[in-house]
Amino acid sequence: MPAVRGRHFGVAISATRRGRVSVVGEGEMALNEQSDGKGRLFDPAFLRGLERWRLVARRPLAGQYRAERRSRRTGASQEFAEHRNYAAGDDPRTLDWSAYARLDRLFVKLFHEEEDMQVIVLVDASGSMRWRSGGERAAGGGRSRFDHARRLAAAFAHVSLTAQHQVSVGFFTGGLGSRLAVTRGRSAFHDVLRFLERPEFDDSATSLDAAVRDTVAVVRRRSLAVVISDFLDPAGYERALKGLLHRRFDVSAILVTDPSEAGSLVRGDVALVDSETGEELRLSASDTAVADFLARQVDYSDRLRAWCRSQSIGFAETSCAESPEETLLALLRSGVLAP
């Protein structure tokens, strides 16, 4: 059993290794293919790698069912919490006889209560997420941010379902689009995959705030909210993420970047067209300007990271060019996942 990582982890799912997830079966190819038909969105290697991870919540969240997430409450799990003096009426089965033998005093062993957790995974489906190197956001090129985000969403869903948590997945653009209703149990993973494979959303520009407002309107229970996005929202991300915190959600922000964006930048006088809004910006893209832009991208990421840290929001940055192992490692480093 792995050790609890840090005091701020209010609850944790006990690490489990229950074998490999069976994702290869009849009709799976259709599910696993990317929307453009090139390669598989959820390849077995990626899903196999999810087995050893568990989800970490940074805030104590009340559960409804017993699950693998360690609750702040003491209960009947096998994970030791603390001793307390025996009092009349305590269940004698909880006495620590070893301590009595050494100390000649009666102590009662308390265990952590394991509860379930509701995980809401919000996937940004805006045009900027669907953009692919080569200029066309829906055809050609390599894996888009959106593809990568869906893989991450699948990962979170899998980890959550494996730990008996409730999972809900939704796409958002200018508001919350289609959403997979809260589901539970390992068998629901196929539903999650199917949902991720066939996203439904409108083509409006990103509005994280509107998406959050829509989410909290339908998700009453405090949950672990994982927001996977590029956070390129003209209105900013602060208000939206604070809105989740205000509703006492445990929030994790996953920033998805696309390194091919830098390579696709041409030099010279260009008219940059926003893939979401169609807005055109004319400028002279010299080497200096491109370097400034790339530096600004890094700065934007750093600011987002710093802000999330200041707000006790979990943050991870992942590139859509990364391999599954690299992605999971990034989530591990960010504390969103724990081994």
């Binding site: 045009g127 900027s128 997420m129 953009w131 200029g135 066309e136 956001r137 941010r145 590029d230 390129l232 929202d233 003209p234 696309d258 964006e261 696709s264 930048l265 041409v266 030099r267 010279g268 006088d269 260009v270 008219a271 940059l272 067209v273 926003d274 893939s275 979401e276 809004t277 807005e279 055109e280 910006l281 004319r282 400028l283 002279s284 893209a285 010299s286 200096t288 300007a289 400034d292 832009f293 600004r296 991208q297 934007y300």
Partner: protein, 607 residues
């Protein structure tokens, strides 16, 4: 600084085209990006990316405009010659007959040359001094900076009908510059540029204004007395075909405007048509004797399509024979219907009688006071004794050893078989340099001619033998020799025709119309020399008598236009500046800037 072709400034109207082309080239590439959010921040916080683009774009446009400006300046042909010092330039305006050739556009080569000369003078700065020479070396304008006067003179100049040596004129122009400055420039405006020898410090620039063309011209139109009798005439006509095709054209022969014959001239390319036309004695009844040959049809050069000759129709020369009795000589003179013959004995001779006759014939007799000075007073034919010879005939049986066939006296005559028993020894030293000996026996003259230096019309012929001392009277050559001598002495054959551009020497009482024409009233030049530059009939007055002088171009070099050089836009490059003509510097600069712009564009320095 001046611009030789400021009209090229009109190309400045193309600037908007360049700007439009530039804008088309500068069309921005459209690139779809995930979001312009960060880009907008970038531009707002570092506006130089947008401004720099504008500046760089502007730099590219400026470079393009600079290239255009340099090319425009090159087209305008700037001339820095007078930037620092007074510049002496001689414009050599080819005024030769061939410059009258009309091109396809209807303008003559001379008009094109005139236009360029006018532009050069007009655009010259105040520190530019010009002189203008004609193609024959005549001075049209001495060195002056008065552009208005120069332009007026250029406009008033007309091409002549004469040929000439342009190289000599260019040489003269160089000397003209040398006389006033250490360096200068010659601008030769001609239809047939050639490499003129240039002197140190003298730049020779040639502008070709000609146009290659086919031409047919009358190269020769000559008149002579028929061998059978001086009163009958023979007309020699030579038509040359200076074209690449066979020509067949009629030549109309007119006498005083009346058509007397039409000859069909047919000549292969580069060949000539020659014919001799006989004019019967009875036909020569014209009061003026203007004989013209005119090629029908049109060609590039009209000046050589008409040729002129003069039929001697003036009063018959009066000939006085002073003799004690010479049957052969009397009959020979009497038989010549072209002269008015009078006979006197030596006793009847009086001093000054020679002025009343065109020719006086002394038959082995001399006036008592006869000295060589007598030769300057009239035209004489001496048969036997003469002022040039000894008192007695001391040459026995002289044999004709040398004959100068070019002399008009021997035209159609062969004196070689003649026999002379005795002859007077002539002394040419009596009139050094003025005595010729067309017929000689070893070192002695059998026939001598004298021509006065002061008045070339004062002539004498000396037969160094008595007529009776030779077998000449028995030969057909005798009357011809007498007739040729009389006509040469009377000067009738010499003044009939001349080539345009030649000098005509006038005696004291002679005058020549300055321009060809019917009346000869357009001014006259008396006593001296006169250059006849225009084709036509000139009135030659001597006392009350008027004769006519026919002037023709008669120069194959002028008629042959095949060697003319074509220049669609004849240009004057201007004087060299720093070792090279300014417009070439500008072209080099334009190329350099263009290369830099190309490099900057592909290196994206200007984006």
């Amino acid at each position: 600084m001046t611009f030789l072709y400021p009209a090229a400034l009109a190309f400045a109207a193309l600037v908007p085209v360049i700007v439009v082309l530039y804008m088309l080239r500068k069309k921005r590439r459209t690139v779809t990006v995930p979001s312009v959010l960060l880009w907008r921040e970038l531009v707002e916080r570092a506006p130089q990316h947008r401004a720099l683009g504008r500046i760089r774009g502007l730099l590219s446009l400026l470079l393009n405009l600079l290239v255009f400006l340099l090319v425009l300046l090159a087209l305008m042909r700037p001339d820095f010659a007078d930037l620092f010092t007074v510049r002496h330039t001689v414009l050599v305006l080819d005024t030769r007959a061939r410059m009258q050739a009309v091109g396809a556009d209807g303008t003559s080569a001379f008009e094109r040359a005139q236009r360029i000369a006018d532009q050069v003078v007009q655009r010259a700065g105040d520190r530019h001094v010009f002189a203008i020479l004609g193609g024959d070396g005549t001075t049209i304008a001495p060195f002056t900076a008065d552009a208005r006067r120069l332009r007026d003179l250029i406009a008033a100049t007309r091409p002549t009908d004469a040929g000439g040596d342009l190289a000599s004129t260019v040489n003269l122009a160089a000397k003209l510059v040398r006389a006033v400055a250490d360096s200068g420039r010659l601008i030769v405006l001609t239809d047939r540029p050639q490499n003129f020898a240039s002197e140190e410090g003298i730049e020779v620039e040639t502008a070709a204004v000609g146009e290659t063309a086919d031409n047919v011209g009358i190269a020769e139109f000559a008149l002579r007395s028929a061998p059978g009798g001086p009163q009958s005439l023979e007309v020699f006509l030579r038509v040359e075909n200076f074209s690449a095709t066979l020509i067949e054209r009629d030549v109309e022969i007119r006498l005083d405007g009346e058509l007397i014959d039409v000859v069909r001239a047919r000549a292969e390319a580069g060949e000539a048509f020659e014919t001799v036309i006989a004019v019967a004695a009875g036909a020569v009844t014209s009061p003026r004797g203007w004989l013209t040959a005119t090629l029908t049809g049109r060609d590039a050069l009209a000046v050589d399509d008409t040729a002129r000759a003069v039929v001697p129709t003036t009063a018959k020369p009066r000939v006085l024979l002073i003799t004690t009795g010479n049957w052969f000589l009397e009959k020979a003179l009497a038989a010549d219907e072209s002269i008015a013959f009078e006979l006197l004995g030596p006793d009847a001779w009086r001093d000054g009688m020679e002025s009343a006759f065109d020719v006086v014939v002394f038959d082995d007799w001399l006036p008592p006071d006869a000295t060589p000075a007598l030769l300057e007073r009239g035209n004489f034919l001496f048969a036997g004794r003469s002022p040039l010879g000894a008192e007695d005939p001391d040459i026995v049986n002289p044999v004709v050893t040398d004959v100068d066939a070019r002399t008009p006296l021997l035209h159609g005559i062969d004196l070689a078989p003649s026999r002379v028993t005795s002859a007077y020894r002539l002394d040419p030293a009596v009139a050094p340099g003025r005595v010729a000996m067309p017929v000689r026996s070893a070192d002695d003259a059998l026939v001598a001619t004298f021509q006065s230096a002061a008045d070339p019309t004062r002539r004498s012929v000396v037969f160094a033998f008595r007529v009776a001392d030779s077998d000449l009277p028995l030969r057909i050559a005798f009357p011809l020799l007498v007739s040729n001598s009389i006509h040469w002495l009377s000067g009738r054959t010499e003044r009939g025709a001349a080539q345009a551009g030649r000098i005509v020497v006038l005696a004291d009482e002679e005058s020549l119309a300055s321009e060809p024409g019917e009346s000869g009233e357009n001014g006259a030049t008396s006593a001296g020399v006169m250059r006849v530059d225009r084709n036509g009939f000139y009135a030659l007055r001597s006392g009350d008598a008027t004769s006519w002088l026919a002037v023709n171009t008669s120069d194959a070099a002028e008629s042959d236009l095949r060697a003319a050089e074509t220049a669609v836009n004849p240009t004057i490059a201007g004087a060299a500046f720093l070792g090279m003509i300014p417009w070439r510097w500008l072209v080099v600069a334009a190329l350099a800037v263009s290369l830099f712009e190309w490099l900057a564009f592909h290196r994206r320095w200007t984006e």
